[in-house]
């Protein structure tokens, strides 16, 4: 693609420019048998009887941030939704809504990142769509991805948490809040710079390793918006079980901690894009922890708490200073302090 060009309305009109854009950019980078055929629908062969199917739309602002961009999120987010269900992610669709005047170079950077991430995650982008809207009718670029994965029969229970019980251990694969702080730092108006990278990454490799320990993993959820606190609250409420966590065991980077102090945020509620909360059986907990820690994306994995029979529906946290408090769903927005 030539540089210094901008997206025009005609790039989404279905005519010559659309055709050039698809061939010169999307097919060029995403190339695979299904996409290259340019059929109306991708025709996919699957080998399992259970299919996991998910979709998500990405509207992050700003679109480029330390450690990633909107395209990386769009691939990793959907791959992770499939992976935490216990499925093996295979195929993605990808829909772009682009604002007229969007720089072609930026689009190419985003598409290239998506292709790289898809390759790392071992998934194929097999179908897609592009729409261009008038300037001011969307904010730069929005991306929707949907994903399909195959699931073995004995993994079906994971999404529902059917087997979760008193005594199970809760594991997180590393430090929490990195993505939230990276996005905060990238917002222009804040005049605040930080070296923190978003943790945005596809987790199917890491999860795949742990899933090999048969029956060990009883529940998984990626801790995105609302952070790990929200995941734990939802689990406690839906299973009518108690959860007890220990603040001192939850990995939080020093810089994230410090930034949270300044802005009045709580790292437990900050968004992550590469963190999975796992509930695992007590007997397999240490084994799974070792497997996770052996993977590059799980080096800092830690057991942060357990499922309890007491206090059903509630998440209780032992604070770092030995106090006790209830963790609840994110209450409204996380707002900056003024006093």
């Amino acid at each position: 693609m030539t540089s210094n060009q901008n997206i025009l309305l005609s790039h989404g009109s279905g005519g010559k420019l659309s055709h050039d854009l698809i061939g010169g950019l999307f097919v060029k980078y995403f190339s695979n048998d299904h996409l290259d055929a340019q059929t109306d629908s991708a025709i996919l062969g699957l080998s399992q009887k259970n299919i996991a199917f998910t979709t998500d739309s990405y509207v992050v602002d700003p679109i480029f941030f330390q450690g990633g961009n909107i395209g990386k999120l769009a691939v990793c987010g959907t791959v992770n939704d499939l992976a935490v269900s216990g499925a093996k992610p295979l195929y993605l669709s990808c829909g772009f809504i682009i604002e007229e005047g969007f720089p072609m170079d930026d689009l190419e950077t985003i598409v290239k990142t998506m292709a790289e991430e898809a390759k790392i995650a071992g998934v194929k982008i097999v179908t897609g769509d592009t729409k261009v809207v008038n300037r001011g009718k969307c904010d730069k670029i929005f991306i929707n991805t949907a994903g399909i994965g195959e699931m073995e029969e004995d993994k079906k229970h994971i999404s529902f948490g059917t087997n979760v019980e008193d005594g199970d251990k809760i594991i997180i694969n590393g430090s929490v809040g990195d993505h939230g702080i990276a996005i905060l730092a990238a917002r222009e108006s804040l005049n605040f710079k930080s070296e923190i990278n978003s943790d945005c990454v596809a987790l199917n490799g890491l999860i795949g390793d742990a899933l090999n320990i048969i029956g060990g993993i009883k529940f998984m959820r990626d801790a995105t918006r609302g952070g790990i606190a929200t995941v734990l609250c939802e689990l406690a409420k839906s299973k009518k079980l108690g959860i007890s966590i220990d603040e001192k065991n939850i990995p939080v980077k020093e810089i994230v901690k410090g930034t949270c102090e300044i802005f009045g945020f709580d790292p437990l509620y900050l968004a992550n894009e590469g963190k999975v909360v796992m509930v695992v059986s007590q007997k397999d907990a240490d084994h799974i922890l070792k497997v996770l820690q052996a993977h590059p994306l799980g080096k800092e994995s830690a057991i942060i708490g357990e499922i309890t029979g007491s206090n059903p529906g509630k998440v209780l946290m032992q604070t770092e200073v030995g106090g006790r408090r209830i963790i609840d769903m994110l209450a409204g927005e996380m707002l900056p302090r003024i006093c």
């Binding site: 200073v321 106090g323 209830i326 609840d328 006093c339």
Partner: protein, 361 residues
């Protein structure tokens, strides 16, 4: 940023907790009057570390919570003017006014922007010379000097399109009024940030007149536990006085420069406090020589009649007379997602802090 670890040392916290238990015999009620303390106390689970005879109450320490609905109504009316850009701290955006709020006005097309300081608002004014940029000035002695510095800056830059809508207040009149109202407490956990500016001397009168203990405290768990220990010791030894625990930030005389700046730009006026009504000389208005920056004077606007929400007991809660759970609306009609009263909106509000950290607990 590493320094916080030392003030969150678990062994030290538990050691102080042990000492408190050791010396504490009387039932005592301590009140914090700073939203930052309210947050920390709940966040670290401080009440669970104290013996039953020590009760902690939250006072009127959240500026958003004590401000009147008419302040929000005024901001809403300004926001509706097409030539106005409202700049505000995030906490105010969702606070309900009588019939609207700033976030609703924003959704309806008003230009409302969240800023982290008045300096950011000044930048916006510099870039939008065809608009009137109004900064909503809220907070106690902590934020008022910054607003004063902003006004000085606007003057230096010769800005003609920058205005302040002041709801700034000072803390001591409220601390005295609470006791006059019959609120039963034995001591104050004195506000750390406010006192960094004001110093501790200004509390001497209150402590003496009302026979109260007062310890100016920092915000970390070790700070709070040590302050509580100092207060308990005062009560047990019957030696009531003003002390500073937060010595790394607070001096008896305070920040003289900031205080001077504040009173160069502002003067005291009678002001309305939720739960306490009108308190003599408790609010800060721009002095006449700065009235060209005063949104109240320079941007005439019709403000709707204030309607207070039915059933909301924010006022009683701010005085420490009732707990959030005593309110019929709490957790039902009034939640952080759908707040009725201001105390549920601000992250420093008692109801919000309760809801977030301590619900049913």
């Amino acid at each position: 940023m590493k320094y916080i670890d030392e003030y969150r040392n678990k062994e030290l916290v538990l050691q102080i907790a042990g000492k408190i238990k050791e010396i504490s015999t009387k039932p005592i009620r301590l009140m914090e009057v700073c939203g930052g303390h309210t947050m920390s106390i709940q966040k670290f689970g401080i009440p669970s570390l104290l013996p039953e005879n020590i009760k902690l109450l939250s006072g009127p320490g959240c500026p958003v919570c004590v401000s009147s609905r008419s302040f929000i109504d005024h901001a809403v009316a300004l926001a509706r003017l097409p030539e106005v850009i409202i700049t505000t701290f995030g906490d105010l955006i969702r606070v309900p006014g009588s019939t609207s709020s700033l976030d609703r006005e924003k959704a309806a097309g008003a230009d409302v922007r969240i800023v982290y300081s008045i300096m950011e608002a000044i930048e916006i004014a510099k870039k939008n010379t065809d608009k009137k940029v109004v900064f909503l000035g809220i907070g106690f002695e902590t934020t008022a000097p910054a607003s004063a510095a902003g006004i000085m800056m606007a003057q230096q830059l010769g800005l003609k399109n920058f205005f302040l809508l002041s709801s700034h207040k000072i803390m001591p009149p409220a601390m005295a009024a609470l006791i006059d109202e019959g609120v039963k407490i034995d001591g104050y956990i004195g506000p750390g940030h406010v006192s960094t500016i004001t110093g501790s001397e200004m509390y001497n009168g209150i402590a003496e007149k009302y026979q109260l203990g007062c310890v100016i405290s920092g915000f970390e768990p070790v700070d709070l536990m040590q302050s509580i220990y100092m207060l308990v010791k005062q009560m047990e030894e019957n030696d009531l006085k003003v002390e500073i625990q937060y010595t790394r930030a607070v001096k008896p005389e305070g920040n003289v420069k900031a205080k001077k700046l504040m009173y160069d730009v502002f003067e005291l006026r009678d002001d309305w406090w939720r739960g306490l009504g009108i308190l003599k000389l408790s609010g800060l208005k721009l002095r006449d020589e700065f009235s060209k920056y005063d949104a109240e004077k320079m941007i005439p606007v019709e403000i709707e009649k204030t309607i207070e929400p039915k059933g909301c007991i924010c006022g009683e809660i701010l005085k420490g007379l009732k707990l959030p759970k005593d309110c019929k609306l709490y957790g039902k009609a009034c939640t952080p997602q759908n707040p009725v009263g201001a105390c549920m909106v601000s992250s420093e509000g008692s109801c919000h802090a309760w809801y977030r950290y301590n619900r049913e607990g």
